[in-house]
């Protein structure tokens, strides 16, 4: 059987190839982490590969938590060099890193990402407060001083000035960093507006403030933000929650909803008047610097003025840059591989 002979020859060749190349060191930079930081890392990776001619970095979107898990797996070519995060590293994650021998990490604050709530251009614009959003989306709300299952089905039931339409909000699933940010930036401040909930302690308060309702008005739309955009177009009365870059790319189809009177825009997020924005970070494993070829140049490119500065190519993708002094500090920290201290919580 000639065929079998050929096939087994190929198999042997492939096996030999495997053994040969697995022994080699890695020459590509590996980056994991948050899906929110992913587009920015993509941009830097492509710029880096094009301008230096070095092997293209491998960028994987694993989510913030998954990114830290891989990043803190240890030192060596099997583990990623950089991880992106849409929140600061937690104490537990830092300890896991230290335990695995990843002791020197440089924390890089890249800038801010706005979280926008938007509706289709054909819908009517409303002005919402965080408290109203909490009332519309939480599983339990305060009514007449009692904490009850959320009874609101229409916006007008929350506040007579709001339109008389059913509440329908498309949002990210619990696995998403966008969801974490929404809970932290909208739901928590929103629930503090209610005295009976504010009076709760510890886990009981957390439970009320963080649990989204499951009875229909809040619709988990999966991780794909493009799908949310399509569904908003089909239903002009619905709202959607996603990263600002999606609103920015779809300005002809969507309008941002003003929260506490401020509509999301590049200016309002940068000057801090639009409150629903979160910091974005990358974390660099210093033990890999000087070992993985190109890593030094890659991180330098990441914090260059052309990249994360005012009008840089990351800003063009929707990142809200830091102010100039802070950018200089960040550059200094990266250049000197400053190791971060253990986080407080």
């Amino acid at each position: 059987m000639k065929l079998i002979t050929t096939a087994s020859a190929i198999a042997l060749a492939a096996a030999a190839l495997t053994v040969a190349s697995a022994a080699q060191a890695r020459d590509q930079i590996r980056i994991v982490g948050s899906s929110t930081v992913f587009p920015y890392t993509q941009a830097v990776a492509e710029q880096f590969a094009n301008s230096t001619g070095k092997p293209a970095p491998v960028v994987e979107s694993t989510g913030t938590g998954g990114g830290f898990k891989a990043f803190c797996g240890g030192v060596g070519v099997d583990h990623p060099d950089v991880t992106g995060a849409s929140r600061a590293i937690k104490k537990s994650e830092f300890e896991a890193c230290t335990k695995a021998g990843v002791e020197s990490i440089t924390e890089v604050l890249l800038g801010y990402d706005g979280l926008s709530i938007a509706h289709a251009r054909s819908g009517t614009s409303v002005n919402l407060t965080k408290a109203q959003l909490f009332q519309a989306l939480a599983s339990k709300v305060e009514k007449d001083g009692q904490i009850v299952d959320n009874p609101y089905k229409k916006w007008s039931e929350i506040d007579p000035s709001l339109p008389d339409v059913a509440i329908a909000v498309f949002g990210p699933p619990p696995t998403s960093g966008t969801r974490d940010a929404f809970v932290e930036l909208v739901m928590h401040p929103g629930c503090d507006a209610f005295p009976a909930i504010k009076a709760l302690e510890g886990d009981a308060k957390k439970e009320v403030c963080e649990r989204m309702r499951q009875d229909g008005p809040f619709i988990e739309a999966g991780e794909n933000d493009n799908l949310i955009v399509q569904r908003l177009e089909a239903d002009p009365t619905a709202l959607g929650i996603f990263g600002y870059s999606f609103l920015y790319e779809n300005q002809d189809k969507l309008v941002g909803t003003p929260i506490d009177g401020v509509a999301p825009s590049t200016e309002t997020i940068a000057d801090g008047s639009y409150k629903i924005s979160r910091p974005l970070f990358i974390y660099i494993k210093n033990a890999h610097r000087g070992v993985i070829p190109g890593l030094e140049e890659f991180v330098t490119e990441y914090v260059s003025e052309a990249s994360f500065g005012e009008g840089g190519y990351l800003a063009e993708r929707g990142l809200i840059p830091l102010d100039e002094g802070k950018r200089e500090d960040v550059r200094q920290a990266v250049a000197s591989s400053t190791a971060m201290a253990a986080p407080a919580k």
Binding site: A7, T18, P55, N226, N250
Partner: protein
């Protein structure tokens, strides 16, 4: 039951009765046929709907707006002894300044530059690297327009909506229209979709990395599952005794064929990556996982093909004094090969479209180069579609549909090959 008598009028009644019954039977026949036709039209209708929606949303990605620009390569920006370190940003700026001398303020120059793809400077660099003699002269290149202007040229961005609702400003549209008036804007077939690797810019993004990644993954999958599948099937079909153990193995194989593919992905993550320490995102691991997934199908198909070879062939061989090995290798296996190959190709087509296990082993990374071997990080076609579907830029909407069409094209080719092989080589006994 009624008493039957055979008088004349009864016979006429019976004739009527028979005619009515025959009518009913014919009607039932026709109805069954209509149900069948209805079912097929429904299935074809759904397929047509799928294709129509993909083509409607994806056809624009098969052309790409290009702008023809003359770049003066001055020796001050590009030194002949350090071509790759030239300041190509300034070369691009000069070229645009030549075209639009009245645009001078830095902000305007920047928004003018946004008409061309962000990587224009690298196109110019590559052109100079390819032919250093152009230094001091000028070089004319077809540069892809950036995504918003590509969409504008294709009519996806409506220039009649108010300026603040679109990605391009009125001034930029004015400049673009000037370029159109100078006959500098073309929209040729988008070969880059097949020849370029992935990019974060839709106007540059292509599938070549994913196609090479898929090919390498399928190669590994084939090299593993084909010999192992055939060997297992030969043993089970020709040698194995019929007892409780072989029954158990058979039941297990049939069960494995129905296991959701994500389970194999988890297995690959736990065993191949974490335990054996193989590289992440590599076609090697992808192929191994897909081989695990296709093996049960391969064994079942191969066994069926072996079973279809008539026993008389085996008996004739054995009767002529051939050993079992000779009978199998010289007669049974060659005769079963068309069936095995058909099954293999269908199994490979299945593996080509598989996404879930590849996501778990990291074959959904963003990489702007093609993989050089089976241990390099790579993506596959379905995971590339997955990444594009998640990208915010408008151009990726069309590209996602185009990527799906390319994937479907490959599947149709593979399945067509299987049908052709079957018709060409199949024997009837």
């Amino acid at each position: 039951m009624t008493e039957t008598t055979y008088s004349g009028s009864d016979a006429a009644d019976r004739g009527n009765d028979m005619a009515a019954r025959r009518k009913r039977r014919d009607a039932a026949n026709r109805r069954l046929q209509y149900y069948g036709i209805g079912a097929i039209s429904f299935a074809i209708g759904l397929l047509a709907l799928l294709f129509a929606s993909l083509i409607v949303s994806g056809y624009t990605a098969f052309t790409q707006t290009h702008v023809r620009i003359d770049f003066p390569i001055s020796a001050t920006h590009v030194k002949p002894d350090a071509i790759d370190q030239g300041n190509y940003r300034l070369v691009v700026r000069d070229a645009l300044a030549d075209l639009f001398p009245d645009v001078t303020s830095p902000a305007d120059v920047r928004s003018l530059g946004q008409i061309l793809t962000n990587n224009t400077q690298f196109f110019v660099r590559d052109a100079v690297l390819a032919d250093p003699s152009v230094i001091g002269r000028s070089v004319t290149l077809e540069i892809p327009a950036s995504d918003p202007f590509d969409q504008l040229n294709k009519g996806v961005i409506d220039r009649n909506v108010p300026e603040n609702q679109r990605r391009v400003t009125d001034r930029q549209i004015g400049w673009f229209d000037q370029l159109v008036a100078q006959d500098r804007v073309t929209a040729p077939f988008n070969w880059a979709l097949f020849t370029a690797p992935n990019s974060r810019f839709p106007e540059l993004a292509g599938l070549s990395g994913a196609i090479v990644g898929s090919a390498l993954t399928l190669l590994v999958c084939f090299v593993l599952s084909f010999p192992i599948g055939i060997a297992a099937a030969i043993y089970l079909e020709e040698f194995a005794p019929k007892n409780r153990w072989t029954d158990l193995i058979e039941v297990n194989i049939n069960n494995l064929a129905a296991v959701p593919s994500i389970v194999f992905g988890l297995l690959g993550l736990a065993v191949f990556l974490n335990l054996m320490g193989l590289p992440r995102s590599a076609p090697l691991v992808g192929g191994m996982v897909l081989a695990l997934m296709t093996l049960p199908t391969m064994i079942i198909v191969t066994r069926a093909a072996l079973k279809a070879v008539p026993p008389s062939i085996r008996e004739a061989g054995l009767g002529m004094g051939a050993s079992k090995h000779q009978v199998i290798m010289h007669h049974v296996l060659p005769l079963a090969m068309p069936g095995i190959l058909t099954g293999t190709i269908i199994g490979m087509a299945h593996a080509l479209g598989e996404t879930a296990p590849l996501l778990l082993i990291g074959m959904n990374a963003f990489i702007t180069s093609e993989p050089g071997g089976i241990t390099d990080a790579a993506t596959a076609l379905p995971t590339q579609v997955f990444i594009w579907a998640d990208s915010p830029e408008r151009g990726f909407v069309a590209r996602t549909a185009a990527g799906i069409l390319v994937l479907l094209g490959f599947l149709i080719i593979m399945n067509g090959l299987a049908v052709w092989l079957r018709q060409r080589l199949e024997r009837t006994w």
